[in-house]
């Protein structure tokens, strides 16, 4: 496997996994309604979305554990599923590997036996098995546990064993089905970093499913945001976060204020797009080369709203508003502000306490006001 080229580099290599027009129905209930994306060699791609969006189903279809209704899946240029050509290669013949949400550690085997399974299937000789299992357990820091049974392991340890078992036989692709969702928050944060490092070290192509935004942002080269069986947006973590193209993505990926209004073409200046809300506020934002219609929705992240008690220096996007409520949440304080008929939410770190009813200034830079597509 060649090492991963930086995303957006000049050469565009042949995709390692190609998913085209994938549809999957359970009876008449749609789970995936037509999804297409590519995964480049060595890339870590994440399918992100709320539960029921079809992300796990898509992953399992790539794995061969679910039978799609229509579409085509190619791995390494080989068609493993095609509804038109009537091809459906069984999961065990696709040369992939997977880490399951429940870890799926076999309780009747030791840690060593669990990890050795894929090598035994491939009829490796005993010496090679011992050597490779040892190396894999070393990589996940579980070498001392080789003779333990699964029941004697903690959740985090089971997770590591599941991981070692998944990569020990050098599969061409690793699939992850919400592998960290059963761990507690602190362990999850640690494992996130470990997984990312391991993935880089192995240089293995991986598809990762999660509903956890932070996980997706921290671990992915690219993210595919899904909703109701369709793709909402595909992009790098930065693109997804900075330039959401729909209200759904803006809201799901972090917290955002969505502001609706009429496009005031007459006020557009220097690449800025002007919008007038129903309460008469003028908001300047940026369209980032997206088509701008007559009715607009813009997204402003809660962390980009600045609150001050003194008038700020900026000329645009500054309003004097009343504080409705403040909610202390530890690392930040969430401030609810009245703004005409709607209200805005701002998240500020370390702030002077504000009283309800107090008048403050809020400001936001136009580049942080993102015009959503269509």
């Amino acid at each position: 496997m060649p090492p991963s080229p930086a995303p957006g580099s000049q050469v565009s290599p042949t995709p390692h996994i190609e998913v085209n027009g994938l549809e999957l129905y359970y009876g008449s209930v749609p789970a995936v309604r037509g999804v297409s994306f590519n995964v480049l060699p060595g890339e870590q791609l994440t399918l992100l979305g709320p539960s029921g969006c079809g992300k796990t189903t898509t992953l399992r279809a790539i794995a061969g554990l679910e039978q799609p209704t229509a579409g085509e899946i190619r791995i390494d240029g080989v068609t493993v599923y095609s509804s038109q050509r009537g091809i459906s290669i069984r999961a065990e013949k696709r040369g992939l590997s997977m880490v399951f949400q429940s870890y799926a550690i076999w309780p009747h085997m030791t840690v060593f036996e669990n990890v050795a399974y894929g090598l035994r299937v491939r009829r490796k000789v005993a010496a090679e098995i011992a050597e490779r299992v040892d190396r894999a357990l070393e990589m996940v820091q579980m070498r001392n546990f080789a003779s333990r049974r699964a029941a004697q392991l903690s959740g985090g340890q089971q997770q590591r064993v599941a991981l070692a078992r998944a990569f020990v036989f050098s599969p061409s692709v690793l699939l992850f089905d919400e592998p960290l969702s059963n761990l507690d928050a602190k362990l999850r944060a640690d494992m996130r970093i470990e997984l990312r490092e391991l993935q880089h070290r192995l240089g293995i192509t991986s598809v990762y499913v999660t509903h956890d935004l932070e996980e997706a942002l921290a671990m992915s080269d690219r993210i595919v945001v899904m909703r109701d069986g369709l793709i909402e947006q595909t992009g790098t973590p930065d693109e997804i976060y900075r330039l959401p193209n729909s209200a759904f993505v803006a809201d799901f990926v972090g917290s955002a204020n969505l502001i609706r209004g009429r496009h005031r073409v007459d006020l557009d200046t220097d690449g800025l797009t002007a919008l007038e809300t129903s309460a008469g506020h003028i908001v300047y934002g940026m369209a980032y080369e997206r088509a701008v219609g007559a009715e607009l929705v813009v997204s402003v992240r809660t962390v980009h709203l600045r609150i001050s008690t003194e008038p700020p220096a900026a000329m645009q996007n500054v309003w004097r508003v009343p504080v409705r409520q403040t909610v202390f949440q530890g690392d930040f304080t969430q401030v609810h502000l009245g703004w005409g008929e709607q209200h805005l939410i701002a998240r500020c770190a370390a702030m002077e306490p504000l009283a309800a009813g107090q008048q403050v200034y809020i400001a936001v830079e136009p580049r942080h006001v993102v015009v959503l597509a269509g």
Binding site: E92, G95, F100, P107, R165, A166
Partner: protein, 563 residues
Amino acid sequence: MPSAESSFSAQKFAGYGVAAVAAVLVLYPVFFLLQAALDVGDPQVRPPTAYGLDNFSGIFQYPQILLNTLTVSVAATVMSLVFGFVMAWILTRTNVPGRHLFEQLMAVPYYLTPLLGALAWSLLGSPESGFINQVWRALGGNDHLIDINTAYGIAWVMALFEGSVAFVMIAAVMKSMDPALEEASQIMGAGRLRTMLRITLPLVVPGVLGAAIFVFAEMLGSFAAALVLGTPSRYYVITTAIYQLVQQYPPKIQIAAAMGASLFAVMFFMLFLYRRIVMAGSYVTITGKAFRPRVADIGPLRYLLLGVCLLYLFAAVGLPLITLLYASLQKIAVAFPAADNWTLENFRIAVTMNAVRSALGNSLLLGFATATIGVVLMGLLAWLIYRSRLPGSGLIEYVVMFPQAVPRLVFAFGLMWAWVVFPIPIYGTLSLLLIAYLTVFLPLGVRTIAGVMLQIDKSLEECAQMCGASWAFRVRTVTIPLLVPGLVAAWLLLFIASIRELGASILLMGPHSKVITPSIVESWFGTSSELTAALALIQTLVVAIAMIVLVTITRRVGAHPVE
């Protein structure tokens, strides 16, 4: 990597192969049962020369039998439900001493079988020689105190045993009720009585109703108690009537078939109704979550309730066993035996008599064969139905669960009729009994194994697949090792069920293929009640040993965390 999946797949081949075997086992005899029921031509000629519904209208020539069946079934159902409900309430909702132990003991009556109960209660309650009536007369009473050879006697014995089934069903409903529902009522200011009437009862009703229908269907098809207790007084219910019509000379096969088919139809409908009620009506059992039910502190009253529990178990387990032992140790069983009446002769005969030894040997052999073949067949079926996702698995589930709705006697009738015309001379051999057992125990085996199978997280198998293992390799290295405890339990259950089987065996066994339970019945009617008591105890001992092994194993499984 092949470019396309080969059309041949071991998985599909195995799956559909087993499904076909199950379908033949179940549907072949049912077909012959229906054929005989619709045959209105010359009974001596096969295949039938004319078809019609006359046999069904012929059933109404026996109005007494239909009435008897209803009387016994209704009485037995009501009594079972009372036993089941009272015991369930006591053991799940009050702080009666030792309730966890009692809860486990409640399964014992079910394993003791109605046949054993009927034999014991016949010794206790027959109007002339029954021990209870002897004591009654010794105390100066006239005539007899109780008569077990009546509709209510039969119902009483049936209810003692079916009570443990009703208990399991009703206790499950009571356990699955979130105590917060009652607590909420009390927080809103309702008193205990009001909570009981307005919350607890309505929540439990669907479950109890379901249990009632299930028990009633079982009672309609039950055979052993009516055979032992009803035959002496010529009191027939539908199952014993079918047996009589088939056994008498000349046999009235067609009318018996019509009765069997009708009984089958009624039971099928009842079980369908039961499933509907359980699925739709019960708000309580839907979550499948086990709650710790609220246990009421009932003060000193709990010792009274303890007495109730002890009384039930005594009537259903203790008394029958003591009675059989008491009778088996006497030359002529009486309530007040003289010193020279005691003997061990009955047990000596039981273990040395050739007929008994061969019957016991045959039963053990059949038990081993049924359990061993059954575990493989039913394991594959369970996997096929609940795991494979092969198309058509839902239909296979229906076929496999079919024998549940057919009394074993009626099923055996279909089998008998089917295999008599089979070109291979299988009728009257142990092979036919093996086929019969494998068929009638399909629901039992498949459900037991499926229960364990469904506990195993699916991803354990999928993960093996992702590691590249073929189906056969996965089954061998992951599925079977995980299933082993469940398979062993299923093996023992099938073994026990085979050893105790009566309804199917009594019609199908030939003179050279006798098995133990029908032999016990034959001995009861033909030889002596003392010897019969000894035989019944020996059979119980075999079953008890198997039970103890079973309980030990399931305990171990419970301690072993399989996901």
